[in-house]
Symmetry: C2
Subunit: 191 residues, 2 copies
DNA sequence: CGTCTATTTGAATGTACTCAAAAGCGGTGG
DNA sequence: CCACCGCTTTTGAGTACATTCAAATAGACG
């Protein structure tokens, strides 16, 4: 049962009663994606936030030349959405697309707002979640400022050892901010 | 009264009663910094989170060659801290230093945790704050991935028009991820 | 098997860096 | 009030990191 992963994840930060768990679970919808499927297209409004119970996705934006720039890889136990679009109701500027067969547990914005009202503990849960995400991003920014492509790559390998198996080189290059060609020669050089 | 700015800031997201305001204000300590003063030194533990009621600061990390890499400029109505150090109690990896004469309203970790318990609305307040911060950082990362130094600079000028007056070129270069020399020639070229 | 995309390779180019040095600017003390 | 000091900014030459363009090779999928 895929909900189990989400509940244990929540239990790390807040304690829910049986009834609260039941209420929360009643708000969830299951969604399945196959490789290449879009969870979100730029220009549309992001109406759900989705917990990843299985699989992985990429969040990317297209530049004026049509090149993908991957802002984030998303895997199990993390949330997939365009927060800005989700909270403001404006059109999303990024795309989210499945890399593998992916299973999601979705909650709509109205349900989430109700959840915050009925079970304020969820404010705490998501506050903690955003804190972690914020910290991780700060580290990513610092790395981009101070490190060469090679250093960023080895740091990436350390932090996400599963990456090399699950993501294409093209996508990893787009995440590191370099061209696939340069990535290829760099990888060869590093052995 | 500098507390006023903080209270109106909070009122944008949550509504506090008179007593709640009083309780909250009783937790605050005022701190003043002069240009160059440290709010936080790397290696020490960040024990407070500080609302900036006046002035500005920079958050930076030093690389192995001793060069500063500015992760963020902090101005009025924002919070200054090393979140990771603050929440885990581990040594900070970054430095925070005043650029101008700066006035801060500080709250300690224990007081903040108590605040979360006694006034859960503050969970909501900080949840919303981190969401905004997270979104802004995502945009910054996307910019770093897709744009040249020139594009990043003009985007920076648009987003922070006060920057050119308040921060040195050296610091802006360290924020954009380029050398002061290259920044200088770029600025000349752009007119 | 053929097509489509990802990866590799190489040459020419460009963006941004390093090193070095001069010029500007603000503060301090004589 | 001016001279000196330290730091920031500017400028220029040579260099390195990473890109673009082009083409060959390898893999995945119907």
């Amino acid at each position: 049962m895929s909900v189990h992963l989400l509940l244990t994840n929540i239990a790390k930060h807040i304690t829910l009663t049986e009834e609260e768990q039941t209420l929360f679970c009643s708000m969830l919808e299951v969604k399945t994606l196959e490789p290449g499927d879009f969870l979100l297209r730029e220009g549309t409004v992001c109406r759900h936030t989705s917990f990843i119970s299985r699989g992985c996705l990429k969040t990317y934006q297209l530049d004026e030349n049509g090149f993908e720039h991957i802002v984030d890889f998303l895997i199990e136990e993390w949330w997939a959405d365009d927060l800005y679009s989700f909270f403001t109701g404006t059109a999303a500027t990024c795309n989210i697309r499945a890399i593998e067969h992916t299973e999601l547990l979705q909650i709509s914005k109205t349900d989430l707002e109700n959840l915050y009202q009925t079970i304020p503990k969820f404010e705490r849960f998501f506050r903690i979640l955003f804190q972690y995400a914020y910290i991780a991003q700060k580290q990513q920014i610092n790395l981009m400022l101070s490190a060469t492509a090679e250093e960023r790559y080895s740091s990436f390998l350390k932090k996400k050892p599963y990456a090399i198996k699950r993501f294409s080189q093209k996508d990893i290059a787009a995440y590191l901010g370099i061209t696939p060609q340069f990535f290829s020669s760099m990888k060869k050089k590093l052995g």
